[in-house]
Symmetry: C2
Subunit: 325 residues, 2 copies
């Protein structure tokens, strides 16, 4: 974290100490870093008697409901009182707040805490550090700097935030600091074994069925360097699964040794195909996604194509081929 | 590591400093902890000019041949000279050394370094610590205690040893020490991103095919709390795969949320079925394996049944049912 980010954090602490009614929200399509970060900071601020409301921007995946504090996440309503401070975590831009975007203008002050390089700095204060492997690392630092003692509940949320956003401490973004934070969380007694069972050993039968069915659509191109997989509405129906159950399949097919680009096509509607792209070493998939008005990072990006799933596959593979060749 | 293990380590260091010809070996069916530990200590001892030979006890999986020093692993031959010290790593008993077991009696001194609770203490010195998450952690400690500086090659082997034996730092056995060691390895410059690509994003097409095929044999029992999966010789032939490619499938099926016991049956020969068992929270699978003359740990065990694969499945499921009910 550089000097100016450090300064922003100091200013944020002053604001937090000054005001009482604090609201916390994060992005739609919630993930572990988003939920863990919101809950960790909310539990910490309650320890210094702040009046904290954690807002729901989207449906919460069942998988994270084991987290301490998760049942306090609620829809915004006026009775919650005035918004002194609105803390937005893990959210690269205002639109990703969903309906809660509208609350930004009601807040006296907005504190934006994030690790995405694409963050638009929409806050009055912006604690944005792309060198943090997870927003959870920034929340850890904020809590420590405020002198609030970590406890098992806060620690369990931080562990979840960091583990899920780093592929179990394996992504490029991990630093030695990441491991030292985790060491400290283990020392205070965080039950990471139970957390890991909840996070990673909890695949529903429906998700398993969808996984097995979808693997039958695996197709290879360009000497097995490109792989595609399709998930249709018919498959979801057959497996009793939801589209969110497709999560994780792309990481699995990217593991195939010859694969440089993995592509999953999801049939949202007949002529609305959502495409996820992952690369391993060389290809910038954000560039590919951009040519279909999508976006993302070098190794993970996405876009949509408005045609049927077979046609969409042809189009996207055509584009990937140009780059892989 | 308790006082007596610490003392054994001090004695081992004295021996290592006194002698010159050092041989290192580990168990058959090599894994990441075994190979990483052997290579890390071998590279460290070469830095203090010891004459080190790393012995092959079994075929080395291709997946680990990216490790620094891996190409120096060799079969024992007499020309390698007298065995002053024989360091055996990650090996719970002498039989697991395969053919290299015979060399134990040729050695002036045997140093046994391991973290398995079942270790038979077969060495002249026994550095055995079941509280270490990986043998790699003990090797790290030994190298530090000898005052040999870590470098990227040694560190890459230690990272591999520890990561592979802890399911990416997620198993119960992990401690804060584990994460602090990894933090230090990252600080000295270990390229964990490339290591992770090599270890976990390197699934052969044959293995992928075997994985997909075997999933079609998934069967559930007792309200989905028991799951079985079968791998036949026919499947291997069809996928162009080897039985070792079945590695990892059991971890995958254990993830299914309702599952308490996962069981994989491998058809080694027509009437020789090797069985692997994993449990999640409550069941002691070592007890189940023992009733078929097998063994292992509470959460991971194995045995063999001499009948055809369908019959073996009935037998093992019958036994698991008694425990799960």
């Amino acid at each position: 974290m550089n000097k100016s980010t450090n300064h922003q954090m100091d200013e944020a602490i002053k604001l937090i100490l000054q005001y009482n009614n604090i609201f916390i929200a994060s992005h739609i399509n919630p993930d572990g870093d988003n939920i863990g970060s919101m809950l960790a900071i909310s539990l910490a601020l309650r320890k210094i008697n702040k009046n904290v409301s954690v807002l729901k921007s989207d449906v919460l995946p069942e998988d994270f409901m084991f987290l301490p504090g998760s049942h306090d996440i609620q829809e915004y309503k006026e009775e919650l009182g005035p918004i002194d401070i609105f803390i937005v975590v893990d959210c690269s831009d205002e639109d990703r707040l969903g309906n809660n975007k509208a609350l930004l203008s009601n807040a006296k002050k907005v504190i934006n805490i994030d690790h995405h390089i694409s963050n638009t700095m929409f806050g009055d204060l912006n604690i944005v550090d792309p060198k943090s492997a997870a927003t959870g690392e920034l929340i850890y630092k904020l809590i420590k700097k405020m002198g609030i003692s970590l406890d098992i509940d806060i620690g369990s949320n931080l562990y979840t935030a960091i583990s899920t956003d780093t592929g179990k401490f394996s992504y490029e973004s991990v630093t030695s600091r990441t491991h030292r934070i985790i060491a400290e969380l283990i020392d205070i007694g965080v039950d990471f074994n139970t957390i890991n069972l909840n996070l990673y050993e909890n695949m529903s039968i429906e998700k398993t069925k969808l996984f097995i069915q979808s693997l039958s659509t695996l197709k290879f191109y360009e000497g097995n360097s490109i792989v595609t997989l399709k998930i249709t509405k018919e498959m979801l129906k057959h497996a009793g699964a939801k589209m969110e159950d497709a999560e994780g399949i792309i990481s699995f097919i990217r593991k195939i040794e010859s694969v440089e680009v993995a592509c999953v096509l999801k049939e949202i509607e007949m002529n609305n195909i959502k495409i996820s792209l992952r690369s391993k070493r060389d290809v910038d998939v954000a560039l590919i996604a951009q040519s279909f008005d999508g976006g993302g990072h070098i190794r993970a990006a996405g876009c949509s194509i408005n045609s049927n799933i077979e046609e969409a596959e042809k189009e996207i593979v055509g584009k990937i081929r140009e780059v892989v060749r």
